[in-house]
Amino acid sequence: MGDGVCAVRRAPGEERIRWAVPSTNLLAWRIWDDDFLVYNTASGQTHHLNLLAGEALRSLEVEPAQTRELVRRLAHEFEIAEDSPPLQMIDRLIHELDELGLIAPSTA
């Protein structure tokens, strides 16, 4: 999902948002090596995600999380530091998943 040059500026209070896969989005998955294909039944669209985006979405599908918590989970999953370059892109990643309609602020 990029090399860190296009990080999205976080809006005030955004770090407190809990991100979730909306209950209307029933996701179907195909995972081949590091390629994730996900079909969103709500939009009828198929998305091709890389490893980081795929694991992030799968994590949020299991349980909603704030950005910091998601970073913690992914750092644990990939066995990397929380401030490592891929995870510095997390705001942009969340923004893109939100734009695609795959996630939304949790209302629960």
Partner: protein, 313 residues
């Protein structure tokens, strides 16, 4: 009884009267026409296809009928009716056969959503099928013909019909539409097969129909399992080779060749996922047809034949 068992006059009488119910792959088409030239062309191209009993329910009722307006267009016109509707503008009567074939394509793509439909040729050997997917001009029809010459069975030159529940490909071995220079090329490749009359000045240029092999028609109820997905691309000075594709890449490329992916939604995603999972996927840039056909043929020779044929649905 087959279409070719009737004399031209008998067939004309039936076409212009009660119509003819013909089994074409998984579809039963009820055809009517009072246009003698069309009936003769149809008789040639569909000679081996079985005529069905009157009580069998048809999937499509198609009428290729004379239409007025010849003074305006300066040549005789015809119209393509399907189930009582007229989905297209009239067209020159001299190209009634190619137009009817396109019309039938339209019917299948628009309504046969019990299948996942890909724009591709499909051939089979020893129970395993290769899907040759690609846009017009990619060389899939000529590659398909070259594989027929090497003993592969024709399932289709136009559509792959995937049964999403069973994961098998249903044959629809209709006449192969040959365009331009490929007419002569196929004549040389498949001298034992017959090519019908040439239709110049169609919307797709000069066109002729290759009568499908008798064996392919006789086995049109016998499905096959997809084993390979190949994306051929003919190009001058291309290095001819099978390039393995990542599964996700193959999935997305095949999706672009699917007519009803959006219509079938999740069913399509799941069925295509299973297909790609089970199949080997390749890109095949090629300059030399014989080399390309040899590479695809080699895929089948690396694998043992399937022990038992699939049952017919």
């Amino acid at each position: 009884m087959k279409i070719g068992d009737l004399t031209p006059e008998e067939l004309h009488q039936r076409f212009s009267g009660p119509g003819v119910r013909v089994r074409i792959g998984p579809f039963l088409i009820h055809l009517y026409s009072a246009i003698r030239e069309f009936v003769a062309d149809f008789r040639f191209a569909y000679a081996d296809f079985p005529i069905c009993e009157a009580h069998e329910v048809s999937d499509f009722r198609v009428r290729v009928a004379p239409a007025g307006g010849w003074r305006l267009w300066r040549e005789k016109q015809a119209a393509f009716w399907v189930d009582g509707a007229l989905p297209f503008a009239v067209f020159p009567r001299r190209i009634a056969m190619p137009f009817a074939e396109w019309g039938l394509n339209w019917c299948i793509c628009g309504y046969a959503h019990q299948f996942l439909i890909f724009h591709s040729a499909v051939v089979e050997k020893a129970g395993r099928a290769v899907i040759l997917a690609g846009p017009p001009g990619s060389g899939k029809s000529t590659l398909c013909a070259a594989l027929l010459a090497r003993g592969w069975r024709l399932l289709s030159d136009e559509f792959a019909l995937l049964d999403p529940a069973r994961g098998c490909l249903l044959p629809i071995p209709r006449p192969v539409a040959l365009k331009g220079a490929s007419i002569r090329l196929i004549e040389e490749l498949l001298p034992h097969l017959r090519i019908g009359r040439v239709f110049p000045h169609t919307d797709k240029g000069t066109l002729a129909h290759l009568r499908p092999p008798t064996d392919a028609v006789e086995r049109q109820a016998e499905p096959a399992l997809p084993a390979w997905v190949v994306f051929p691309t003919h190009a001058e000075s291309a290095r001819t080779e099978l390039v393995p594709l990542r599964k996700a890449t193959a999935f997305l490329r095949l999706e672009t060749n699917c007519f009803n992916y959006a219509t079938l939604g999740r069913t399509a995603f799941e069925a295509m996922g299973r297909l790609i999972e089970a199949a080997e996927c390749y890109e095949l840039p090629f300059e030399h047809l014989a080399t390309a056909a040899g590479l695809v043929n080699g895929l089948a020779e690396l694998q043992p034949a399937l022990g038992c044929p699939l049952n017919v649905a």
